[in-house]
Symmetry: C2
Subunit: 170 residues, 2 copies
DNA sequence: GTCTATAAAAAGATAGAC
DNA sequence: GTCTATCTTTTTATAGAC
């Protein structure tokens, strides 16, 4: 059910992610959905909690990345349609829809990234650069929708990461 | 009335920006609002049109900036609560809410920026860098809401711009 | 646990008075 | 132009059968 809710948020936006649509996509009735999540707030809370768990694993992966935390972090900022990316986009949809809990969750996530990356960049300016490029990558993917995503991939992404890495190296 | 609609979108998100709330904030009745904008689609269209006009002026300012287009562009990416910034955030709220017209308007805006900045950066990688940092700045401001915005300002912003400018100089 | 039926509220839109 | 009143649809939530 969380999968269905998340998928609708990512594909069609917050407006379309109703209890009704979620139940239908999950293959249950509205009553069935409401048995597991007693309210829409609870459903959103479930998604936010899922994000928090995925962020735990991500931070772990960042700090122990063989190619270095910055490269790994930027590379994973391009939406690969993996569980974390989907959760981030879905929760940011909720945040832009007006959910304070979602905004708080995203800020917490960002703070954990700051803590993980700080030791591996030159200074706070370099840290800002890395985080903002990552945010930009997510933002563009999140806006995507119908139009083609202008986000760099493949060799262009590698070149961009090289550039950022060079500019931010300690 | 567009001002009211925009303000609610920016402050409280797409969910809160109803015809009812917009009418109340604008100091008119729902009927009064519907006289000027016959539907919610029309209201959103009005906002998108406003954005297009502001983008025209912005592109003009970018290409003729005394300090150089890149510096001007990045500096203006930090939400200064000016008309263009408000319009961008409001329309991106609509886009994330599921409006295809809003998504299209944002992509057009981005394309105009690409055209304006291309001659002033080294290559496409540098262009990606500049655009993504700008997107990151907007994204963070747009998420803001209750929590404190972690976006660099003042001296930190100047340092960041210097770094990006150095990395992207032709 | 899952369903149907239904209540209660909110949102978009129309009609017609002034 | 702006208002009130009303209609329709959608959305969230409850109640109770199975």
């Amino acid at each position: 059910m969380l999968d269905a809710f998340e998928a609708i948020l990512v594909a069609d936006g917050e407006r379309a992610a109703t209890m009704d649509a979620t139940a239908r996509a999950a293959g249950v009735s509205k009553g069935g959905l409401l048995y597991h999540f007693a309210s829409k707030d609870a459903l959103e809370g479930g998604l936010i909690q899922r994000l928090a768990g995925l962020v735990d694993a991500d931070v772990e992966a960042i700090v122990s990345a063989p190619d270095g935390p910055v490269r790994y972090f930027l590379r994973s900022s391009v939406m690969a349609d993996d569980p974390l990316d989907r959760a981030i986009v879905a929760v940011s949809r909720l945040a832009q829809g007006g959910s304070d809990a979602a905004s708080r969750a995203l800020h917490e996530m960002r703070q954990r990234w700051v803590d993980a990356l700080s030791p591996h960049v030159r200074d706070t300016t370099a840290l800002d650069l890395v985080l903002l490029v990552s945010d930009g990558l997510y933002f563009n993917n999140a806006l995507g929708g119908d139009a083609a995503a202008p986000v760099p991939t493949g060799a262009a992404l590698d070149a961009l990461i090289d550039l950022v890495q060079e500019a931010s190296r300690p």
